[in-house]
Subunit: 305 residues, 2 copies
Amino acid sequence: MSDFDFRAYLTERQAVVNQQLETILESLGTQRELTRAMGHSLMAGGKRLRPILCLAACEACGKDPAHALAPASALEMVHTYSLIHDDLPAMDDDDLRRGIPTCHRAFSEATAILAGDGLLTHAFQVLTRPGNLFTLLPDPAVRLELTAILSEAAGVNGMIEGQMLDMLSQEQEATALPSSLDRLEKIHRLKTGKMIQASVLSGAVSANADPAMQEHLAVYADKLGLAFQVKDDILDVEGDTAVMGKPAGSDEANHKMTYPALMGLEPSKRYAETLVNDAVDALAFFDEKALPLRAIAAYILQRRR
Amino acid sequence: MSDFDFRAYLTERQAVVNQQLETILESLGTQRELTRAMGHSLMAGGKRLRPILCLAACEACGKDPAHALAPASALEMVHTYSLIHDDLPAMDDDDLRRGIPTCHRAFSEATAILAGDGLLTHAFQVLTRPGNLFTLLPDPAVRLELTAILSEAAGVNGMIEGQMLDMLSQEQEATALPSSLDRLEKIHRLKTGKMIQASVLSGAVSANADPAMQEHLAVYADKLGLAFQVKDDILDVEGDTAVMGKPAGSDEANHKMTYPALMGLEPSKRYAETLVNDAVDALAFFDEKALPLRAIAAYILQRRR
């Protein structure tokens, strides 16, 4: 891995994803209040972890990652919609996201609800009517499968149920520790994990990967998704508000169940490391085209935001 | 049409649609807070106009309407999501819908936002992974097209933009009358019309209808959608709160642009009649299998809620 420049790779891929998302926004017209609100959140400088995972998985399975740009874009649109709705006053009531005002702060609550709805709905339009937005595309049968994967991961047996359980668990007092850790893991698998799995799987499916490849990547994605969340909780304890673009310490203030709160800070760090090692081990099946996936796993541990 | 019992037809079709929606809800588990909230609004006794239009269009094009049950269900789920979000405090702030408390009143605002998100997202799961929920299904290529039709009609160039413009026009004072009528028609074409068109088109596409059939049905759906909205505005002036399940007179109280306010009550009634006649004329191309579509157009004028 010594000759692989991950920083350069990440910067290049973020630029590719940002360019594609800009193209999608421009196709909708940027002067409308609705699309301005969608663009405010979509172009707020996210890490683009999900689309980059999707492109890297496609690459690992031996196909030009450009084939996966449509699902990659759709995944980031759905992720952004979930942030907009989670930030709403009726939900987490957050004022800052990615260093700028949340959508309902910059526009209005009603506009933010509709901007979220719009990003979610248009993600399916991007997958089903990609038109001339993309140079390379998966064939129609694969696009139907990608739509199925996205609606399952984002849906009532995935991300939405995760947010619902997270909300309910904040309302109820946390009970005994062992059951709470199970519950925490369940919430994260639903709330973040399913979409991370969908990102990796969508890349593989776009590359027409065989079932063995898909199975190994599923293990990678499961471990990576959990590691990502454990690290998120650690950052909330140790992180720097200015670097993260959102207030550190907010989990504790909101009495949120977190890994550091439930298992301690040092054990949480060791757990994150174990998960990342397991994720990388699951890639043993792949050749050097999986270098970016390996580097992404390492980055999950090192990131400061 | 004399030997066609429309009341019996409507009752039977509503039962078929309700049964299918129940099956979908049961497949998600009915004990969860999220699915209970989704079911609260989905099974609140709506007219089922969109799914019934979808089934009737499939029938008019010569195919067993059971082929269109998946898109019919998805259309009603998306329609219900839009009602849940439109009723939210940040939007229209309504307490009653279909005679029972709105979703955010019966549950919570956060739960209602997620229940809406869930219905929207799961509609795409119903179209793409219909599993063993349906006995007859359109083939995969047609299902991809149905997903495209639904996400376009419900999206940022359809229903969501219509709701956005409706909201903005309530904030701004209505300006001169001629431009307001154009604006009103534009809002309705987006907010209600696109989904009504998608309902009819989805039925036709599920029946593998040829382009000529689709063109005639597009005219029918366009006229019908506008007639439906004009009648809605008339009902808000003349209707009975108990029959409608929502307060009459609320448009005037909210200073909403309506057809009666802009063109007068009697001209609005004549306009609705003309639109329905135009809709029925567009069906001249079809044989007696289009009887239900003709009867639905007549029903739009006569309905009391």
